[in-house]
Subunit: 581 residues, 2 copies
């Protein structure tokens, strides 16, 4: 059985050292946020994650979900775990207090969501999608829609989905074809949606589908897409369940990973049209989706952190247990963790995970400041940093998670290739994260186009200036920050006249940003750790110093090569004709 | 169905431009090697690979092998494909003419083996292991053993295996415990071996196991291990099959990939001892294994090239077919291959594959020169280059194949995560290659210790000098060659006094070498292509130029950062105590 123990001490350290916990706790409305409260929540969540969700991860992968005549059965244990998850209030926790949630800061929710995701990625997706659907209704739905759907979706009695993708409309939602025809106070929805995560299952009484579709008179393209609520069971005005709606799970995908998460093909309106209700105004569906994008992309970025942590724990435990050969300079019987190259792999995983976590928590803290700071200038600056960093958290964490999970397999040697060991599942599961909720290429184009070029690099330069003030006395970081600034300037200058150049260099630019931000935050953590070394939790503090030393010596030096590729490598890409070879 | 078309024109170009085909064809004993012969062989092999083996790759992955009461059934179609493979002479081809093979140069065999591996990695392993077993018997067996086993193993009537690993003896074969007790003219073998590739199956009439075991009076450690032939069915003196030997497939591993390759747990001697015959002298088994190591490791490195090529073809075909969004600067309807970031991914895959192939073919050519050159100085130099480059081919090609297969999934977007598409299989299959036949860490330690430090960096400096003479007028390559030389000097200086430093930096050093060698050979190819651009196959030649331009602009710049990590990053690794966090 593969284990997971949430790194609670590490999470708390990161919240404090780089997440801006004190600043967030001082925001209006966060009066209840105290160290004691946070620690208590984290300890309880860690127990649920480690004791209930983690043990289901491997069996769920092995069993997968089964569909028969439109009825989906989740693997053994998932249904009861979901019930316990809801009963203990974990499902409701991230929602706002108005609907039964706890209304805690994003910074406090983030490590808890990390725990669910690390312990059982497939399971965690059900809540994640539901929270997204809640958010859409909360921001854009009518008062009646909110009253009908949100309390039960918050508690987990009902779950939610996002029905965006169609076979011909993946990354390009402008191509959505699903139709919505008005009929009295509702609409009739007809069409096929694919890749619908938790689109059909047996863990909740109703499933509230949010569906993008076109009205008959809608303009072509992205400005003709509307958003609808389409419940699996229609809901009576008193909140009780009515008729089954005309929608069905046509099939489930056979996927590389996250087997316990049912990925459905959803067929709407085979019997004349599913009943749906317009959310907000017509033709503004895509715009509504975009308002939730930062949170959704951030959450997938967090999946990268989480699965990388899980893979690291698995490798670390195996390497401390397995004895093979006598490690250099050690007595016989020392485990393989002490072979220099295995040590390197473990430290590489650790340093990268902690760099990703620091970046995610830093961003989460800025989300809270942006949302609640009474000082508009501070809120605006925080929002600019959030907008800048969300594609980095999404793109860089997820790409890194694939690399880290692969290293995790490697640490196991031949056993890593055997499924029973568990390392391979993380390698399979991680692979979806750089794809869904916008591929890395899409994140990177957002990063260079909307987040850097649009404001002439202002937000990026603010971040660079802040880091310079904090850790700019480190020669390597000072040089890397200068290089980052040069790249930002190059993007701002090149983008309007030569968008094909910045597009070709976008992923490298996002990678460079991910490395530099991670390095600065790790160094900041190492300094905080050194200052507290005598007093704090010595394993965490020693670990922080080791992670930073490694990252700055091994990962940060990639920055100069990336900058060269960014500023001088676009020509080789743009000259290439893939159809001519 | 996923396709594979062997890149025959590309292979021929590479053989000529960097493989040293003319030099190899001029070696004594290679009189029959002509352009016509090679092209004819490659075209025929390409047909068999594309038409017979490739279509079995995905169904074989899905079905996997099944074991029941020690009897293994391979997926549908594998048995008849293996029979056709033997009937057409492909199984025998790489063996020496003395036993029915063709005795062609390694350089000519290499692209053909690449085709088998690319079209069906799981299938190809049966021949690869058999060729290894043939080689062991050929070099170290008695005349009788050769006469009994080699003709039938060459034809494929019988196959061979290598039984090295035991649960407690993976990378450390010194820990082998399997026992061999003398009994008349043979021995009784008792013990359990794991990870035995094609250890049991239904495609051939007999399986000739080569087994490492210890004699009762053997010294401890690596100098007490002997090599035995242990056939599944005993062989009568007339060559007919006798009794079933006392060995059985106890189970098959449930693996991440290569599902159609049965990976057996083999149990020897449950009924008193399997009958085995000593190969060569007692206690020299490990030494015998090491004599075949260069070829075995080279072949696994070639698997990295092959699977990366297959993943690239799959991604390339998908990206030229799939339409989604309007690529920047293109008319509507252009496929996703023309989005700049997708173009980048396709070109990244292509450039890396071709860099790996060039390095492998260059090394293959040197193997032939080392084996057959009448000039001892030339042969010696070639052997030194082979010894230097084999761990690079093995370690860097296989690690790169994981990265390339991952990019292949990414090119597909959400469809890449769906198993039916086929991209995910390459991502799963590739993951074994950096593990078996010596992990990347083991290759890297061999590279820095035996291949660089032992001769004070002489072989590496020879290679650097050759490249400098050929492509040193390119500023980027000149700088990279200087950096490589500095790193070689640092390794040679540091290794004896501080082996923990070179061990910690070993994988980075191997990676650096892989990049620099690949870059020099790609540039050499691009120059050859430019010289022939008007006359040759323009798609291949244009592709060579594009690949080199990309590699030099995007991959080569990593070298300086790696050099910094190598020479200055060991301290961070060695200071880390994985047991203290």
């Amino acid at each position: 059985m593969t284990q997971y123990r949430a790194p609670v001490r590490d999470m708390l350290f990161t919240l404090r050292a780089v997440g801006g916990l004190d600043e967030v706790a001082a925001l209006p409305g966060n009066e209840e946020v105290s160290d004691d409260l946070i620690e208590a929540i984290f300890e309880e969540a860690a127990k649920f994650a480690g004791d209930v969700l983690a043990p289901l991860n491997q069996p769920g992968d092995k069993a997968g979900c089964v569909v028969k005549d439109g009825v989906v059965t989740t693997p053994d244990g998932v249904k009861s775990a979901f019930a316990a998850f809801c009963d203990n209030g974990w499902h409701a926790m991230p929602a706002s207090a108005a609907w039964g949630g706890q209304g805690l800061p994003q910074l406090v929710n983030t490590p808890v969501i990390e725990m669910w995701t690390a312990s059982n990625l497939a399971f965690s997706l059900c809540q994640m999608l539901t929270v997204g659907a809640i958010s859409a209704i909360e921001h854009h739905g009518s008062a009646t829609q909110k009253a009908i759907y949100l309390p039960k979706m918050t508690s987990g009695e009902w779950t939610g989905t996002m029905n965006l993708t169609e076979p011909q409309a993946g990354s390009d939602l402008a191509a959505v074809r699903t139709k919505a025809v008005p009929e009295g106070d509702h609409y009739r929805i007809t069409g096929t949606k694919i890749f619908i995560t938790w689109g059909e299952h047996d863990v909740a009484g109703n499933i509230i589908h949010l569906v993008l579709a076109r009205l008959p008179d809608a303009p072509a393209g992205v400005k003709g897409i509307s958003l609808f609520v389409v419940p699996k069971f229609l809901v009576n005005l008193d909140g009780s369940l009515g008729d089954r709606n005309d929608l069905v799970c046509a099939s489930l995908e056979h996927k590389l990973g996250i087997h316990a998460s049912p990925t459905a093909v959803m067929s709407f309106g085979e019997k004349g049209g599913a009943i749906g209700y317009l959310v907000g105004e017509a033709n503004r569906g895509l715009e509504y989706m975009f308002t939730m994008m930062n949170h959704a992309r951030f959450n997938v970025g967090l999946e990268g952190v989480a699965i990388a942590e899980r893979a690291m724990q698995q490798a670390h435990r195996y390497a401390l247990d397995r004895v093979q050969g006598r490690p250099l300079g050690c007595e016989a019987g020392k485990p393989i963790a002490y072979h220099p190259d295995v040590k390197r792999m473990l430290l590489d995983m650790k340093a990268r995970v902690e760099g990703l976590r620091a970046t995610a928590y830093f961003t989460a803290g800025r989300m809270d400041v942006a949302a609640k700071s009474p000082d508009p200038a501070i809120a605006k600056k925080a929002q600019a940093l959030v907008d800048l960093l969300v594609p980095v958290v999404k793109g860089f964490s997820t790409e890194s998670s694939v690399l880290i999970a692969s290293t995790g397999v490697q640490v196991h040697g031949g056993m890593g290739f055997v499924e029973e060991t568990g390392a391979a599942q993380h390698y399979r599961d991680a692979r979806i994260t750089p794809i869904y909720e916008g591929t890395t290429g899409i994140q990177a184009n957002d990063f260079v186009g909307r987040k850097i070029a649009r404001d002439g690099g202002a937000a990026a330069k603010t971040l660079i200036a802040d880091f310079r003030a904090e850790v700019g006395d480190h020669a390597g970081l000072a040089a890397a920050l200068n290089t980052f600034e040069t790249v930002v300037g190059w993007i701002a200058d090149a983008h309007a006249a030569h968008p094909e150049r910045t597009a070709a260099s976008a992923v490298a630019a996002l990678t460079l940003a991910g490395i530099v931000v991670g390095a600065c935050l790790l160094e900041k953590q190492a300094r905080a750790a050194k200052a507290r070394l005598d007093g704090g939790d010595s394993a965490v503090l020693t670990g922080k110093i080791a992670a930073s030393a490694y990252y700055l010596a091994h990962v940060l030096p990639q920055v100069e090569g990336l900058a060269l590729a960014i500023t001088q490598g676009h020509e080789a890409i743009n000259a290439f004709d893939p159809g001519a070879i």
